[in-house]
């Protein structure tokens, strides 16, 4: 049944983005918000706003009962979870459906399956998608683990089966080091997580992060090509592009086809992203994980494909079949997105939830700025530091970088530090200009190039 009234269970720039897509589809919008977001742009833009609790996310944006109650009282027939918060919470997806509404995303079972690292890896292997070489499941026997590590070749990563978010990971560079670290990792995991199981995985050095956007309707799946997000700080993406200039056409074809095969194998419904590590040295790619939601960096795909991914996922949740055939999906030109955060790049990226004093936004050809800002807006301290995303499109990468520089020159936010000077500095880097980057390129570059950020307006608070 087509959706008539959509509740947005999120905040910030993505809530604004969802309201816009819904409005273009003729759908009414209900924005839930915490007490700290009563004056947010999403609340101002939505047809209706409902206060669901105190500032802390656990008491508002993660409060399933309050969100479902708001949806019922507003007569919503669907819920869009955005990204973060409840977007990949399988129980929430199930609860929305059980309450008689549509969840804009895949089924709870699909979220559960792809959210379980070991199960997702097995699913990828069954669908013929290459995975990072490593142990098939948990290893109990330390001698067997060591033999496998020698087979894989060092360095190898030792991961706690019950860990997550980078916790419980160790890297061994030799068999001797492995023999010391593996039992340590196991006993630490037992103490921290109550489960001493470990995995062993080969470390892909100098890997690029490449991910494929897919759209599925539960039966058919298409891909909208890839994005490259190799510029990361503390595993957080700061700059994303589409397409990746590192891929040869035949590699791109194989990569995108493998993503479609995996999504089809789980009957995927909605927008999803399949993440890979890409080894420049060998041309091999390896599945890492699938994100069963819209991603922050989705606009770069929209810019090169001319597709509104958020609108498509809402249509699919309303029961429509895919409107796009793979043959009709062409990528054109090059897009770059940079994340404008309320952080001081000259002071170790210290978050700074200040008040927007003056605001001048970039515009003109090929420029898009998805954001939640207005003059006088007080940034709440309770959520992440993303203020907006500057996205540019150009005929090719060189053109896109020229536009990014031009747009950053027009952008002016005063009252608080932002990450804008970082992007000016990155544009001046030869490695970035040549796309000679990998996932561990940015952090050492930052250590060595503080002056470049300072020179471009970054000021220590």
């Amino acid at each position: 049944m087509p959706i008539k009234r959509l509740l947005i269970a999120n905040r910030g720039e993505i809530a604004v983005r969802i309201i816009r897509a819904a409005r273009e589809l003729g759908i009414e919008t209900v924005q839930v918000h915490s007490a700290a977001d009563a004056d947010s742009r999403a609340v101002q833009l939505a047809d209706r706003a409902i206060d669901i609790g105190p500032p802390q996310a656990a008491k508002s944006y993660l409060n399933v009962d309050a969100i479902l109650e708001a949806a019922r009282s507003a007569g919503a027939d669907a819920i869009h979870p955005g990204y973060g918060f409840l977007a990949e919470n399988a129980d929430f997806a199930d609860a929305v459906v059980a309450a008689g509404m549509a969840f804009v995303g895949p089924s709870g079972d699909t979220i559960r399956l792809m959210g379980d690292k070991a199960a997702a890896r097995r699913q990828a292997q069954q669908a013929g998608v290459p995975t990072v070489p490593g142990s098939d499941g948990v290893i109990e026997d330390m001698d067997a683990a060591k033999a496998l590590a020698v087979d894989l070749g060092f360095p190898v990563m030792i991961k706690a089966a019950a860990g997550g978010g980078g916790r419980g990971i160790r890297i061994a560079h030799s068999a001797d080091e492995f023999a010391t670290l593996a039992p340590q990792a196991s006993s630490e995991a037992l103490a921290a997580f109550g489960d001493g199981g470990i995995y062993v995985e080969k470390v892909i050095e100098r890997a690029r992060h490449i991910e494929v956007q897919v759209l599925g309707d539960g039966t058919d799946v298409v891909h909208c090509y890839e994005r490259e997000c190799s510029l990361q700080r503390r595993r957080q993406k700061v700059w994303e592009e589409a397409p990746s200039v590192a891929l040869k056409p035949e590699v791109r074809e194989g990569l995108c086809t493998s993503a479609v095969a995996l999504a089809k194998s789980v009957g995927y419904s909605g927008a999803g992203t399949i993440e890979y590590l890409y080894d420049d040295a060998t041309g091999d790619y390896y599945f890492i994980e699938m994100n069963t939601r819209i991603q922050v960096e989705h606009p770069v795909t929209e810019m090169i494909c001319g597709v509104d991914l958020v609108a498509e996922m809402i249509r699919i949740a309303g029961g429509e079949k895919l409107r796009l055939a793979q043959a009709g999906l062409r990528a054109s030109g090059h897009a770059i997105e940079v994340r404008l955060n309320a952080e001081d790049p000259a002071n170790n990226f210290m978050p700074f939830p200040g008040q927007i004093a003056e605001l001048t936004l970039p515009d003109g050809p090929g420029v898009r700025f998805d954001h939640m800002l207005y003059r006088g807006y007080q940034i709440p301290p309770f959520y992440d530091s993303l203020l907006g995303k500057l996205i540019v499109w150009g005929e090719d990468r060189e053109h896109a970088m020229a536009r990014l520089g031009r747009a950053l020159g027009e952008l002016s936010v005063t009252g608080l530090p932002t990450t804008a000077p970082l992007f000016q500095a990155l544009l001046a880097s030869d490695d970035v200009r040549a796309s000679a980057v990998h996932t561990r390129w940015l952090e050492p570059w930052l250590e060595e190039n503080q002056h470049m950020i300072m020179d471009r307006g970054g000021a220590a608070a």
């Binding site: 700290a36 105190p54 500032p55 802390q56 939830p353 301290p381 309770f382 959520y383 992440d384």
Partner: protein, 79 residues
């Protein structure tokens, strides 16, 4: 001795414990030295330690665990 207030240098959420399953950094009646950590403030998903800027004995916590705090707001009182 005059009452002294320890204030939060940043806005965010105040935590009295290093982790949910661990005891509080300090309790009422505890003595603190300048530089002792009395709590954490979470701002934009990052955690920052709040240290005492004086020696003394804690007579009260103005805020409870997990309460929102504004920059400059008192967190605890010392004697």
């Amino acid at each position: 001795m005059a009452k002294h207030e320890i204030r939060s240098p940043i806005p965010g959420t105040f935590y009295r414990k290093p982790a949910p399953d661990q005891p509080s950094f300090k309790e009422v009646g505890d003595t603190v030295a300048k530089g002792d950590t009395i709590g954490l403030v979470e701002v934009m998903k990052t955690f920052h330690e709040v240290k005492s800027d004086a020696d003394g004995t804690i007579t009260a916590f103005v805020l409870d665990n997990e309460e929102p705090v504004m920059a400059g707001q008192p967190l605890a009182e010392l004697d």
